[in-house]
């Protein structure tokens, strides 16, 4: 059974990190260059960690499966990054950011980790601005902020709708500088396929070069994974197609515990699926819900009518009806589930019946009238009001309306958008202690790949904050505490038997995929897995459904291995082989997610079990039985994994019912 010591320092919440930093062991500057650190992944967490550790003097080797570190999926984050700067003088503070985040996570994260995140948030903004990240500014030249879900202050920093891109390019520039100096050795097109454990410690990785097919062994004193989340287990998601669980999954199979895998975030405002061929879902920023009204027809028989032909009295503005005080701004999980309920009742719209309307007609009228009155137009015509109103909506949301038009060929100025919830983020991940070290010593896990800071639900604009906090400001300190305890130069050789065995394991794994020579392509199985996961482990879960999934997934797994067709060979660029390996891991992960969801007999945040809800449909947590982290430990192929438990001891904040009514 794994030892899960969270290593949370003692003392007052606000002093823990400050005090801890002064107490942990240091590595002296002359010794730093004697330690080699492998970083896998080059998103916000991986790039920022690579650059910072190289600046400190460590030997860093960074591996990324993309053709450039700048392609990592952090690049696609739209909204912004939270920081407790209180530049708006609206009463924000580190404590408020901490509290909003821990409440937003439905009291399923560690207090000490979340507080540290809030503390270092302010450093992130300083760092990024110094790198030349062009955040939005006010006319006076100071930084602009906006507000985001789950907060009552304006603490979100942003760069148009491309905040993730700008932050990633900042971290990429810092990494590029160190690569140019020879301080980081960068391996692109290099996918980690296994973790090598020597004497119980993570000491290296096995890598496949995606262009040449070459499989190589790499040894180091410590391994850092910043390899992102696993939402593509659902096949359709807002993730990039290449995002995968392989690095963390293979680490799990080498002994690292996987924590809370069932915690997934479903974002309410995405463009609905349009057909079987679909590969990707696109997010429409949540900010649209500030002015758009969400509705479905009251009567199922109206669903196929054009929206304009449905009378006002026949429309059900269900969020306004169900959640009168929050209305269309109800939190993500609540809004998503409500949309699903409407569609389940047969009142969904669009060709597939899986969609709801997000309507700007009222906003256009309101803005149009306001603009007319500002322009001193008396008796403006209906056309004039429409014209002015559309212009005002365009100014606020023009780029989103353009994206919507590109994808659907519909104008949201003329008819309501159709939206539906989609998988967007995974809060679960590899278990880590306060040092961000896994239960496998020497293995550190950052960003979305770990489980640590978002509990059961992540607030908007917090993912970028966590990725950069971990990479710039946490792991550079905490890894020293581990390295100081091992002798410089004691890093094993990549020719050690453990490395050779791991390489052989990967070669065999690859050959098994190539030799199956069945009749169906990889995507066929990915779609099947996605459907099982979405139906039984998606927005609403039941004991019965999860048990069914636990029967179906192993069947799918057997079918996949027996009947997949992966053409070509392993010693060349082979995208089918890449997808096959990743899917093999997703199938196994899917099973673990269902197992985790089944054993967590409560509803919290993104994990909603239909059996555990209040009469009004809100999540019913069970703090007595489930105020803990479930950290799953691999027990061998075909064996049921072990569910370890780390209790969540809340010393400073009261766990209360998370109500947004």
């Amino acid at each position: 059974m794994a030892q899960l010591n969270s290593k949370i320092p003692s003392g007052a919440l606000a002093d823990k990190w400050r005090k801890y930093k002064t107490e942990i062991k240091l590595v002296n500057p002359a010794n730093k260059r004697k330690y080699k650190i492998i970083v896998v992944g080059a998103g916000l967490a991986g790039s920022s960690a690579s650059a910072t550790l190289a600046e400190l003097g460590y030997q860093v080797e960074t591996f990324v499966f993309h053709d450039s570190p700048r392609r990592a999926h952090s690049i696609a984050a739209q909204g912004g990054v939270n920081a407790a700067k209180n530049y708006q003088n609206d009463g924000d503070s580190v404590h408020r950011l901490y509290y909003d985040t821990i409440k937003g996570g439905d009291y399923r994260a560690r207090e000490a980790n979340v507080h540290r995140l809030a503390e270092v948030s302010v450093n992130i903004i300083d760092q990024c601005v110094a790198q030349g990240v062009p955040f939005a500014r006010e006319y006076g030249g100071l930084l602009a902020n906006r507000s985001f879900g789950g907060a009552q202050v304006s603490r979100t920093f942003y760069a148009r709708g491309q905040t993730g891109q700008q932050l990633l390019l900042g971290a990429y520039s810092a990494l590029s500088k160190m690569v140019g100096q020879g301080a980081v050795k960068l391996h692109v097109n290099s996918e980690m396929l296994d973790l090598v454990v020597v004497d119980g410690q993570a000491k290296g990785i096995i890598v496949r070069n995606l262009v040449t097919g070459e499989i190589t062994r790499h040894a180091a004193d410590a391994v850092i994974l910043g390899t992102g989340g696993y939402g593509n287990v659902f096949n359709l998601s807002t993730y990039a197609r290449g995002s995968n669980v392989t690095a963390t999954w293979r680490a799990y199979k080498r002994g690292a515990c996987f924590a809370n895998p069932c915690y997934t975030q479903i974002h309410p405002t995405c463009i609905p699926v349009s057909g079987e061929y679909q590969s990707k879902l696109t997010l429409m920023s949540e900010s649209l819900r500030n002015d758009g009204r969400i509705w479905v027809p009251k009567k199922a028989e109206d669903c196929k009518k054009a929206p304009a032909d449905i009378a006002e009295a026949d429309r059900d503005y269900y969020l306004e009806r169900l959640y009168p005080s929050f209305g269309n701004l109800a939190p993500r999980d609540v809004s998503s589930r409500a949309a699903k309920r409407m569609c389940d009742e047969g009142r969904g719209v669009g060709p597939t019946g899986l969609g709801v309307y997000l309507d700007f007609a009222d906003a256009i009228q309101r803005f149009g009238k306001q603009a007319a009155s500002r322009a001193n137009l008396s008796n403006p015509s209906a056309e004039k009001i429409l014209e002015l109103g559309e212009a005002a909506v365009k100014e606020r949301y023009g780029n989103l309306f353009d994206i919507y038009h590109e994808i659907t060929n519909e104008s949201a100025y003329k008819q309501p958008m159709r939206i539906y919830p989609a998988v967007h983020y995974t809060m679960g991940g590899l278990w880590v202690d306060y040092n961000l070290m896994s239960n496998l010593p020497g293995l550190f896990v950052l960003g979305e790949a770990n489980f640590s800071d978002h509990g059961a639900n992540r607030l908007g604009a917090s993912a970028l904050m966590q990725g950069l906090a971990d990479g710039y400001f946490v792991v550079p300190y905490t890894i020293g505490d581990y390295l100081a305890g091992i002798k410089p130069g004691s890093c094993p050789s990549a020719d050690a038997p453990e490395f050779k065995a791991a390489e052989q394991y990967i070669r065999d794994f690859t050959n098994r995929l190539l030799n199956a020579k069945g009749t169906e392509p990889v995507n066929y199985y990915h779609k099947k897995l996605g459907k099982i996961m979405w139906d039984y482990c998606g927005m609403a879960r039941t004991k019965e459904g999860l048990e069914k999934a636990l029967v179906e997934i192993p069947k799918l797994r057997a079918e996949f291995w027996a009947n997949v067709n992966v053409p070509g060979s392993g010693d060349t660029l082979n995208q089918a082989l890449e997808r096959a390996g990743r899917l093999a891991d997703f199938i196994e992960l899917g099973e673990l997610m269902c197992r985790d969801a089944l054993t967590r007999e409560e509803s919290c945040g993104g994990h909603f079990r239909e059996e555990y809800q209040y009469p009004d449909g809100e999540c019913k947590r069970d703090d007595e039985k489930f105020a803990h982290v479930a950290a799953w430990e691999f027990q061998g192929e075909g064996k049921t994994p072990l569910r370890n438990v780390e209790p969540l001891n809340y010393e400073f904040t009261k766990m209360s019912v998370r109500s947004y009514k």
Partner: protein
């Protein structure tokens, strides 16, 4: 803007794709029928469908680069009917939909053709030259933990906005593919301008432009002859004005480099 109906009639097209097994191998066009396509399908999803079919038959799928499929990661890089990223303006290949093509059309799909971007396989090219240019100077040298408070240096909104216009570059390389000289001037000027417009970028402004341009030349990219095919092909519509800005920066930096007084001091001391 006119409201369109969601689904129009399905279409069938022929895809004429460049197939090339590897860097040194001979390449050729191969035709693939793509039948009964929903016009709301993306171009890449159409390729997925063809590939599923090829894989089912045990044949090598068409290799193409892609990832985010929402126009921001810069991975996708198709030349469709002779145009980088296809027929529509201001989008990446992944944001091209089948409704942009006529029923019965033969669509030609090629990789970028530019010698600094050698072909890896089929439609995939090696764009690591862009990373090398960034490594030569596309950064502000600031150690983690060293900065002052973010609001200590106010930046005029106009400068920040213009810097952001340049910073939007997704590094896809369409500018190079569109240029008859395979020039990377738009790409390089975007980064040079972003950092040159901001106070943080001033200390290294001269060395940045000189080093990045030198690296660009060394890697075999051509020069700009002011035809601006680059910004026409750019999915983020980055303006060629930035090239002019970079040229000015380069000229000034070259003069300063030549005539600036330099300190004799060497590192070290007690």
């Amino acid at each position: 803007m006119v409201a369109h109906k969601v689904s129009e009639k399905n279409i069938s097209v022929t895809i004429r794709v460049w197939r090339q097994a590897g860097p040194g191998a001979p390449g050729k066009f191969v035709d693939y029928p793509a039948k009964d396509l929903n016009p709301n399908m993306s171009f890449l999803e159409m390729l997925d469908v063809i590939n599923d079919d090829l894989e089912r038959k045990g044949q090598d799928p068409i290799a193409f680069a892609h990832d985010c499929r929402e126009g921001i990661c810069g991975t996708c890089s198709l030349v469709i009917n002779g145009k980088p990223h296809g027929p529509n303006k201001a989008i990446a290949s992944c944001q091209t939909y089948m409704r942009s093509f006529a029923d019965g059309e033969t669509i030609i799909v090629e990789p970028y053709r530019a010698s600094p971007f050698p072909i890896v396989k089929d439609l995939i090219t090696d764009r690591s030259a862009f990373d090398k240019i960034q490594q030569a100077g596309g950064f502000v040298s600031v150690r983690t933990g060293a900065p002052c408070d973010a609001n200590a240096i106010p930046i005029p909104k106009e400068d920040a906005d213009l810097a952001m216009d340049a910073a939007q570059c997704i590094g896809c390389g369409a500018c190079v593919a569109a240029c008859k000289n395979a020039s990377a001037m738009l790409f390089v000027s975007a980064k040079v301008s972003q950092l040159g417009l901001l106070p943080q970028g001033q200390p290294e402004r001269d060395s940045r432009v000189l080093n990045m341009v030198a690296k660009m030349d060394e890697l075999g990219f051509g020069n700009c002859t002011n035809q601006y095919e680059c910004s026409a092909a750019c999915p983020k519509t980055i303006s060629h004005d930035f090239i002019a800005r970079m040229n000015r920066d380069y000229l000034k930096a070259s003069f300063r480099q030549a005539f600036r007084a330099k300190s004799d001091a060497v590192a070290g001391g007690a």
